[in-house]
Amino acid sequence: MTLALNQEQTMLQQSARDLLSRRAPVKHLRALRDGGANMGYSREMWAEMSTMGWPAMTIPEKFGGLDFGYTGLGLVLQETGRSLTPCPLLSSAMMAAAALSYGGTDEQKSALLPGIASGETVATLAFDEHAQHRPAQVAAVAERTSDGFCLNGQKRFVLDGAMADQLIVSARTDQQTSDGKMPRGGEISLFLVPAFTAGLGITPCQALDTHVLAHVSLQNVRLPFTALLGAEGGGLAILEHALDAGRIGQCAELLGLALEAFERSIAYLKERKQFGVPIGSFQALQHRAASLFGELELCKSLVLNALQRLDSNDREIAATASMTKVKLVETASKVTAEAIQWHGGIGMTDEFDIGFFYKRARILETLLGDRYFHLDRFARQHGY
């Protein structure tokens, strides 16, 4: 494996950057927030991104995709990270598509993947039930009925949940054998739940940077047997696979936004003058900038490595995903916090863009497990 991009990938990244910097720069995010009735992203922009083929990137050709791989989608996510463009690439094209590809039957794939690939269908995973990310701890239940399943419970902070056409919901299918303990793994199943199913309640929740999450309640949601994704009780492995793809996708976004915030801040250090000289001539700032540059170099390698491992179906993807997320989160939060500090007072203003990067980094850290979750998971994966 060569840790470098090929020409096709470089061109893809460049075309993504061109489109996004032209059509959806940070002021696009600002306009969404200030425009009222914000549902998280712009349907027009999403349609435009879809015509570029971005949601089709990881989906096999036989299901309407481009089969261009996770590395390609990761490069696009890096660019949406740079421009902070809100869109369901991560939730739908990265995670939901991964769950379907990994765990779905051919019928389920044929039914859903072409829509996801074209961008017409937005699908998202609903798994968290509490403020802490604990995908293996599930209280929502799916009871077997004569003609399928009946789901009850609630899901919290579902990414792009308010705009999704299709949810993939985790629920316990072991209630008959439950001894009151929280099940861990083997008893969790995944279900395909169309957004307009009776009994499904969706409440939007705007996150701190304009992205919209959703709380989902399930009250006697009745589903046919064909709604089961993967084997009954086999949902956690599929979920973990999709979550790891999502975490690595997040890392690509974090890399993009950290690089953008860093580059903007370096430019500011060169232009802002105090004491009659550019503040970038002060060694106190130079050393901090240089040290962050080194950390960002590590991040670039980690992200490319993780994307390539996703593409090669690496069996140890869990450790790779957690390693990458820890480093990307720690670096992106450091870089974006320093970006505010170096900008001084203006960095604290809403009018100036730099604070948006800090906010986005925080959301990406919190969703799908923060640094502490992944440090713990990384250590566990390595047997200590």
């Binding site: 060569t2 840790l3 470098a4 370096i266 250090l269 060169k270 000289v277 550019p278 970038g280 001539s281 060694q283 700032l285 130079q286 050393h287 900038a289 240089a290 040290s291 540059f293 080194g294 170099e297 590590l298 991040c299 670039k300 390698s301 980690l302 490319l304 490595n305 390693m323 820890v326 480093k327 502490y372 440090l375 713990d376 990384f378 250590a379 566990r380 390595h382 047997g383 200590y384």
Partner: protein, 393 residues
């Protein structure tokens, strides 16, 4: 089979036959390294056989041209060889400043005569090289060095001193930065010269470090003779060569941040020494720090690989070596701190029967030098800030 696969198969067979079993275990300490040179005492017959076998094949310097004794391998073949050596856990047959530093500089800047004279003995491990860079008054400000080179008809004489010469007392030849012109800009009057350490007027004195060991010497020059044809590159252009050399040195030092070949991962050492409680390291605070260190160390390895892949695709290493030097040494220092913490009181045992001659505390103390030698961390940050980020002076 492709040509590369043929090469892999041939290399595997050859290594299987030619690498003695004693050379297929991880290096325990620096003392296990084969440095070569006139006075080197081989640790074992296996070590000597391994060096001879590899040198005969040119594989002590696998990517150097064959005409100078090297293996003539391109990057793809080199990688295959490295993988095959790793496959059987083969130790490096030779470790020397000749291979890692002056050799590459001679290949790039040396005259044909210098290449013919010096490269083959480096490949064979016959000559051990010492580096003469820092002086008592020229540390971070290296370009202010004062060791004086003066013309005396058909030769030069050298006066002055160097400090922090790695294994100066064991070196056979020295590559040395000297002041050959004291007029004009300080960078412009520096030359890189080569001389035999047995030349009359050259003497060394060991420097004892806080680790109790003396891996460095001071080196003194009292009217020492230097031949005219032993200048690398043009006279007074030594700074360019020196910077190139430092690039290699820094990348090499940066390798300290990687887990040493054959050594257990830190997490596994900790699990063995401290034990687990319900599947987790018994010390939860230490556990987090170890995980962070392992992540950084792996990220550094990936970044070095990425840099090599990018160099292959035509990029130049340049100031990036400062990134590796800075990150690698800081990571190794953290690693040494964590090893001390993992081993508790055992880590302060300097000379007890279980201490392996104070291996842990001496390595920990030695590592403080990592962020000083080869240009301090602060100098590396200056280089990154100015030459990569373009921040104003």
């Amino acid at each position: 089979m492709t040509e590369l696969e043929d090469f892999r198969a041939a290399a595997r067979t050859w290594l299987e036959n030619k690498c003695p079993t004693g050379m297929r275990s991880p290096l325990q300490t620096e003392a296990d390294l084969c440095w070569g040179g006139r006075h080197f005492r081989f640790q074992s017959p296996d070590q000597e056989t391994w060096l001879r076998n590899m040198a005969a094949k040119g594989w002590t310097a696998p990517d150097w041209p064959r005409e100078y004794g090297g293996g003539g391998l391109d990057q793809a073949h080199l990688k295959v060889l490295q993988e095959e050596m790793q496959h059987i856990g083969a130790r490096p047959p030779l470790y020397s400043f000749g291979l890692s530093m002056i050799g590459p500089a001679l290949l790039k800047y040396g005259s044909e005569k210098l290449k013919q004279q010096h490269l083959p003995p480096i490949v064979r491990g016959e000559i051990r090289w010492a580096q003469g860079y820092s002086e008592p008054n020229a540390g971070s400000d290296l370009a202010s060095l004062q060791a004086r080179l003066e013309g005396r008809g058909d030769h030069y004489v050298l006066n002055g001193s160097k400090i922090w010469t790695s294994y100066g007392d064991l070196g056979d030849w020295m590559f040395c930065l000297v002041r050959s012109d004291s007029e004009g800009a300080k960078h412009a009057g520096i030359s890189l010269v080569l001389f035999d350490m047995t030349t009359p007027g050259v003497s060394t004195r060991p420097i004892r470090l806080i680790s109790g060991k003396s891996p460095f010497t001071e080196t003194f020059f009292d009217h020492a003779r230097v031949e005219k044809d032993q200048v690398v590159g043009e006279l007074n252009s030594g700074w360019t060569v020196a910077k190139y050399l430092l690039t290699h040195e820094r990348e090499m030092i940066g390798g300290a941040g990687l887990r040493p070949t054959g050594e257990e991962p830190l997490g596994r050492i900790a699990a063995r020494v401290l034990g687990l409680e319900s599947g987790q390291l018994a010390n939860p605070m230490l556990r987090g720090d170890i995980a962070r260190l392992e992540i950084d160390s792996e990220a550094l390895g990936l970044t070095m690989q990425r840099a090599r892949d990018e160099v292959k695709a035509g990029a130049s290493l340049g100031a990036t070596s400062s990134v590796f030097k800075y990150l690698g040494t800081e990571i190794n220092m953290r690693r040494q701190e964590l090893l001390m913490a993992i081993h508790g009181l055992q880590s302060v045992d300097w000379s007890g029967p279980d201490s392996e001659d104070g291996r842990l505390p001496r390595a920990w103390l030695r590592s403080r030098g990592n962020s000083i030698e080869g240009g301090t961390s602060e100098i590396q940050l200056n280089i990154i800030a100015k030459h990569i980020l373009g921040l104003p002076g």
